[in-house]
């Protein structure tokens, strides 16, 4: 059953569900932060429009810093700005930042403990026709391995705005991941969002589906379809991958005894990796990971790619059945 306390939209599975890219939430979140705090500054590396940094740049031109195509410089300049009390947000495509400037992020932001926020845009396979070079599928792993880093993957544009504002209010380095394509807007203003707190969007007793990003919606679709086959699935929106909300995950998994993780990322090192690590140490149960299977993406339309790479609700259903088979064999 859909959890009413989550205030998801009424017509959750309706045909005409509104859509928006999560990057819009980044832009809107920046503007809200900029209005509230004059120390918020925004940096971008020649992708101001497509990362939605432009929303902020148009409103606060004096607090927007154009870096040009230089991602290593962007994060290190941000480190210096944070050193003198600014709250810098930097953005590029996730393949380039954090992809290209990982060591600078490690040393000058995480180890150096600088209050810098990194926005990775155009993450995931759904970037589409630009192809594999522009489809970040390893960024969660890169950021999750760093001590001191918070990692957030919002599920829709509404949550993306909340996530942007939330990371702006903590004095810690943070990475937030965004997608290019429009995806369903299924959370509302009232949907709870707290960093580090996973939310149970749907309750079931047979299997726990833990998802992040826009695939949370696919997980809900899968759960709805599974119901027809008599399978009751719990669906968790695990937007904060680090720190992982082990408590919420554990509570659900104790009830269901089987897990499927879902993300638009390599199956290693991302949400699936984090959940597998946590559960194998604390409560080992059958677990299947839906994600990209250790390969690179390619050009295509976003929906074609999601299908080809096994990231749709039918693929999730398939994995649920495999996880249940393992559970029943025990």
């Amino acid at each position: 059953m859909t959890n009413k306390k989550m205030y998801l939209i009424d017509d959750l599975y309706g045909e005409n569900i509104k859509q928006a890219p999560t990057r819009d939430g980044y832009g809107n979140g920046l503007v809200a932060l900029g209005e509230a705090d004059r120390n918020v500054v925004v940096l971008c590396a020649d992708l101001t429009d497509s990362t939605r940094s432009k929303y902020f740049a148009d409103k606060f031109p004096d607090r927007f810093i154009e870096i040009g195509v230089a991602e290593q410089n962007m994060v290190t300049v941000a480190s210096g700005l944070a050193a003198v009390g600014k709250i810098p947000f930097v953005a590029s495509y996730a393949t380039f930042c954090p992809g290209r400037c990982w060591e600078q992020i490690r040393t000058t932001i995480c180890y150096n403990d600088r209050n810098v926020k990194i926005a990775g845009a155009h993450a995931g396979i759904s970037v589409g026709p630009d192809g594999a070079t522009h489809q970040a599928l390893e960024d969660i792993a890169l950021m999750r391995a760093l001590p001191n880093m918070v990692v957030v993957v919002p599920c829709d544009a509404n949550e993306a705005k909340k996530a942007t504002i939330a990371v702006g209010k903590i004095k810690k380095p943070a990475y937030v991941r965004f997608t290019r394509e429009k995806t369903p807007l299924f959370t509302t203003e009232k949907t709870p969002f707290q960093l580090g707190k996973a939310e149970v969007y749907r309750d079931g007793k047979d299997v726990t589906i833990i998802a992040c990003g826009s695939l949370v919606y696919q997980a809900l679709l899968a759960a709805k379809e599974l119901e027809k086959d008599g399978v009751e699935a719990t669906v968790i929106n695990c937007h904060t991958i680090k720190p992982l909300d082990g408590k919420t995950i554990m509570k659900a998994v104790r009830q269901t005894g089987a897990v499927v993780t879902v993300e638009e990322h390599q199956i290693t090192g991302g949400l699936g990796g984090a959940v597998a690590e946590y559960l194998s140490e604390n409560y080992p149960v059958p677990l299947k990971r839906v994600g990209v299977q250790d390969r690179f993406g390619e050009s295509g339309a976003p929906d074609e790619l999601l299908k080809k790479f096994g990231l749709t609700y039918t693929d999730i259903m398939e994995s649920v059945k495999n996880a249940l088979r393992l559970k029943n064999e025990r």
Partner: protein, 285 residues
Amino acid sequence: MKKIKDTRKLKLIANKIRQDIIKSLTEAGSGHSAGPLGMADVLTALYFNVMEHDPKNPGWGKRDYFVLSNGHICPVLYATLANAGYFPEAELMTLRKLGSRLQGHPHRAALPGLETTSGPLGSGLSQAAGMAYGLRMDQRPNRVFCLTSDGEHNEGNIWEAVLFIAKNKLDNLTAILDRNYIQIDGNTEDVMPLDPVKEKYLAFNWNVIEIDGNNMEEILTALSPAKRLSGKPAMVIARNVPGKGVSFMENNYEWHGKPPTQEQAEIALAELEYWREKIVAGEEQ
């Protein structure tokens, strides 16, 4: 901190810092010798004459910022900070040891007085740029100094910073190039030629000043407010002798990354003591 104007006194402090570098490196049993010895005069000038700072209050809001981009030469920064009164000189003997605040490469959170964490080359100049940019946004008068090395100029991140700083006319930033012509694999001009570095910086629209980085008078002049040009960031190319003051280390890239043995340290300290007496007698330089 009260500024020392007497150059002879400054030279004596630089000599003391060199001796402390030798002692701490010998005790550590690993670390970099040539770079730190070469930069002792520049750091002395910065911390005892040029910069506004307060060793008793490292976080003082009106301080000038010093960013060490070539973090491996931290023995000279540690010795300078200790001599300026940031921490007890005895602590220099803990360099690189378990539990020490003097990490093998400088870590900001470990030691008050450090403005950043460094060691991985190429990212300090950008951080200094961010500081200078942020300070200017708030109309704060603090200056930012960044020491960057010649080998480090192989890194693309440096040139990204050079463009950014010139574009934004960060005249509250002064970079100093540790131009000692050595890096790990050999002489810089063999590994990856950097000259004509002055012309490069001029072409990038910087205010360039070239000096003998082991000459206290030249250092003070180059870093004085009088040399600042409105609207232009400054690059002080400090040509210097790596290993300065210790004959068998001077200009030899093999001394980039090793400490002296106990025996070598004794010779080194004796040589530095000789130079100290020369300074006292007013015969040096």
